[in-house]
Amino acid sequence: MARIIELLSPTPPGWGGTLLVGLLHSVEIAAGAFGLGLVIGICGAYGKLYGGPVVRDLLAVYTTIVRAVPELVLILLLYYAGTDLINQLLTAMGYQRIDISGLVAGIAVLGFVQGAYSTEVMRGAILAIPQGQIEAARAYGMSPGLLLRRITLPAMLPFAIPGLANLWLIATKDTALLAVVGFFELTLATRQAAGVTKAYLTFFLAAGVIYLLLTLVSNLIIGRIEVWARRGMPSLKEAR
């Protein structure tokens, strides 16, 4: 027991600090990817609902392919092929090759994947808004941008939150997939610690607990956000 505590201690020779740095990176990636996914999702949903035929077709191809191909494959593909493509473009245009940071690449890759799922969640949520509320906003002279900001986004939020909460939790765990491309996040940190100390059970259990805690804290925050987003809606309990 004393050995376990010593191994997990946040200061060397304990590996707790390493795990926490890994967690920090995981959360950074997850938050960045989720945020990028939201932006892509809003644009994607708008494009699918209101865009012209070309935009709609392109978005259909995007959401279909991303959701059809295993994420690990997409990550490998986008990470290696994507960075290679950027560098080839840069050299072709006469610029220096650049080193793309793992953080940026990870956010971009996972965000691209999240965006496809997010698009569908948002599309469903926008369709669930009573159309009269959108119509009222138009009837009072709101511009499309104002309407999106003041009416559509807040009105669709209650319908989007369950789906988006799922996506956030998936994002936190998908960060583990980035271990295969050598990004130092929680899973890779755990593997390193376990490999060096041979205390596999201890470290992987610890990582499991950390992922669980992350989920529990997330649920707490999501619950608060959901109560706020549903402020105008009578609770189902009262309606029963």
Partner: protein
Amino acid sequence: MIAQGTAPALKYTAQNDAAEAIHVENLHKRFGELHVLKGVSLSARDGEVIAIIGGSGSGKSTLLRCINCLENPTSGIVRVNGEEIRMKADSHGHTVPADRRQIERIRSKLGMVFQNFNLWSHMTLIENVIEVPVHVLGVKRDVAIAEAEKLLARVGLAEKRDVYPAYLSGGQQQRAAIARALAINPRVMLFDEPTSALDPELIGEVLKVIGDLAREGRTMVLVTHEMKFAREVATHVVYLYNGLVEEEGPPEQIFGAPKSERLKQFIRNIG
């Protein structure tokens, strides 16, 4: 401009010298194969209350919704405040507003009240009422709030200012929607069957508010099934049948001495 509060006395002189707030000329609207409006003309001068009546599918709601381009007319002229809405054909051959800013500007002068209230569910009543003044018209927030409080008090909802629409009765929601429309100080108010979604015992409270507005000289175009009410408040009644104006005139004539057979039958059936 007609002095407010004296509208009944000026009821008919209004038609001659007041400025024209709404002018609709030879309006057509097709939904694909369906020809809903087949050349309708309509005029509302300042201080007039125009009631549009007609059976289901006669095109009366479509006509109202063409005035602020919630539906784009297929052809014809719509002038609001003397300004003609410019239309153009899009790539599919549909007629659409040529200038989005123009249509937004015109819409912000027309206070629309819907059959299903359409209050914004994520905002309290006071937030609903100040939304357009603050975010579309650029009124200062505290000024808008003071004005909104007066309007809510006027429709009898002062103590409900911080309540969300879902917690209110249909009649209360519709009165709040009328306050929202008044908050933009509209040139014309458009009512699209404002009592059709209400329980019978709630209709009276909403009609009372609308009636008060009519009596103080608000310009209105009102689509309604409430014939008794139309007779009381309207200065001019338009009876639509199958996409055309079948008969129009002062309410005494329309309800008291209708000429067209169809109108006679419509009044018999509905009354």
